[in-house]
Symmetry: C2
């Protein structure tokens, strides 16, 4: 079996999978993210041993998907979402500790690979995945190959500018796509609507305007609240601006919407699809790109990492 | 020999080249662009015969680079820069008229291919080309292959939104990269500066604020005029916003600046390079992308088209 990790800003997910059927893991472990290199490597090593014990089988190789800039040698160069992690040579150190071959990849790239092989992207020639979570990550599969770029940093599309005179993001950039098209962005839109008096049910549910989060939009969309649907439509518009940008640059056959927010489901995906089609240049003269929900849920990154590790050995 | 065409909004350039030495054409012909499908195909057929007569050699195949959305079967689906051309099956019709194999490609894609094989991009693993002309076209070569996308429409990056609340472009879109990073955009920035009283020499040279064009900026940059350098710096900033967006999405090793504006030379390319480095996410943690000028000048599109035709037969 192969182990796949997904290390995000808040949690570490580890799976034991077989490459021929990776979507039904043999074992699953979770812990909170540790923003210290030594402790993280130790914890991951323990989790590998734990997964081996869980399924009574040795791990042949380890794949790691992690939020941030991962270079081609498996070094995490920079991860603004995981404090304190800078120039961490995950591949070399985890290989030394776990005594297993290790492959490291950006988590959205890993998720894109999983969806292309076993999820929503099967059969698409060129696929882009946009993972809407706390932040926004993207990954690309072109002609059946994961596209990594020169440094291994391709797919950092959340940092593309869509509103140059827009507000400053946590990264210091003005108006990047991620500022709008993320859970953080959805919560902000909801609070702005509530502050205008246009989202009273959310204010009531959360207790105050400032306590409103993306989750309240999700709940109230499910309940059919018209104000929540209006906030979601605004969110879909901003998301689609970046999706249309990717369509202009890459002309993919399919854009897979992934990440925690995809749990909102049909209203989100349909909204992004509608706005994308309205925003794409020459839409009447081209085949319509498919905007579809991810199928592998929150395990996509870990599954993709395990598959890439299996491929590499 | 092989014929290569570049069909832009104003002129048609046709070259006769040998694939082993495409940068020194055997013969060159030019005419004004004809925004009528039948007349354009007839004129191109005559130009092929003319090139054959010029070098006393038969043409083995024809490559066509053209501004607009060209699909994988060689149909020009939509070209906002060439009025009246819509759903023109260039490949089939020119093949029937000229009795030669024909390959049709977007002109910026063709230019990217030429620069990657015989120009600035030699040796770069992943290369993006941005052609700053009347409009803005881009093309990509990944791992030694021209990247075309699903429909053949990849590289329409001029239509990516960089300023969502920005002014409406001729395409109807708000604040696309091309609105700023093009000859049209440079002229507009210069007129805005002149209207503020910040570019008096250009007003004097042009006769009036409204008569100022990008060419005046070019001349006055060469003359070392500080106001012209300030306008150019603003232009480089806007251009670099889109270049940085491409770096975030694609992580190329090299970005080649092409198109008519590259004749401004070093001040333009250095300005775009400086701003790109300031705008790129995690710049201190990544190898610095090279921003370099194109080497094949205005013939790149036609050369690339001829090379692609030679490759296809």
């Amino acid at each position: 079996m192969f182990c796949g990790f997904d290390i995000g800003g808040t949690k570490v997910l580890a799976l034991a999978v077989r490459p021929e059927d990776p979507t039904t893991p043999l074992a699953v472990r979770r812990t909170a993210t540790i923003a210290d290199g030594d402790a993280l490597i130790n914890t991951m090593t323990e989790m590998i041993a734990g997964l081996e014990a869980d399924c009574n089988e040795a791990c042949s190789a380890v794949g790691v998907g992690i939020a941030g800039l991962v270079d081609a040698t498996g070094v995490l160069k920079y991860s603004p979402n995981i404090d304190g992690l800078l120039d961490l040579d995950i591949r070399r150190r985890l290989r030394a500790e776990s005594r297993r071959p290790v492959m490291v990849e950006n988590e959205a790239n890993a998720a894109a690979w999983a969806e292309s092989q076993h999820g929503a992207g099967r059969g698409a020639r060129h696929m882009a995945l946009a993972a809407l979570g706390t932040g926004l990550g993207t990954g690309f599969v072109f002609d059946g190959q994961l596209y990594r770029g020169w440094n291994g940093f391709a797919g950092e599309s959340g940092h593309t500018t869509i509103e140059l005179s827009g507000p400053e993001h946590v990264t210091g950039a003005s108006g990047p796509w991620e500022y709008y098209a993320s859970g953080t962005g959805l919560g902000r839109l909801a609070r702005q609507a509530a502050a205008r008096g246009d989202f009273d049910r959310a204010t009531a549910e959360a207790g105050s305007v400032s306590a409103i989060r993306g989750e309240h939009v999700h709940e109230l969309v499910v309940a059919g609240d018209p104000d929540a649907l209006a906030v979601l439509d605004e969110f879909c518009y901003y998301t689609a601006v970046g999706v249309a940008n990717l369509v202009h640059v890459l002309d993919p056959e399919m854009v897979v919407i992934a990440g925690g927010l995809v749990e909102i489901g049909e209203p989100l995906v349909r909204g992004v699809d509608d706005w994308t089609h309205r925003l794409v240049f020459g839409a009447r003269h081209r085949r319509r790109v498919q905007v579809v929900p991810a199928q592998l849920g929150s395990q996509a990154g870990a599954i993709g990492a395990a598959l890439l590790a299996a491929q590499a050995v």
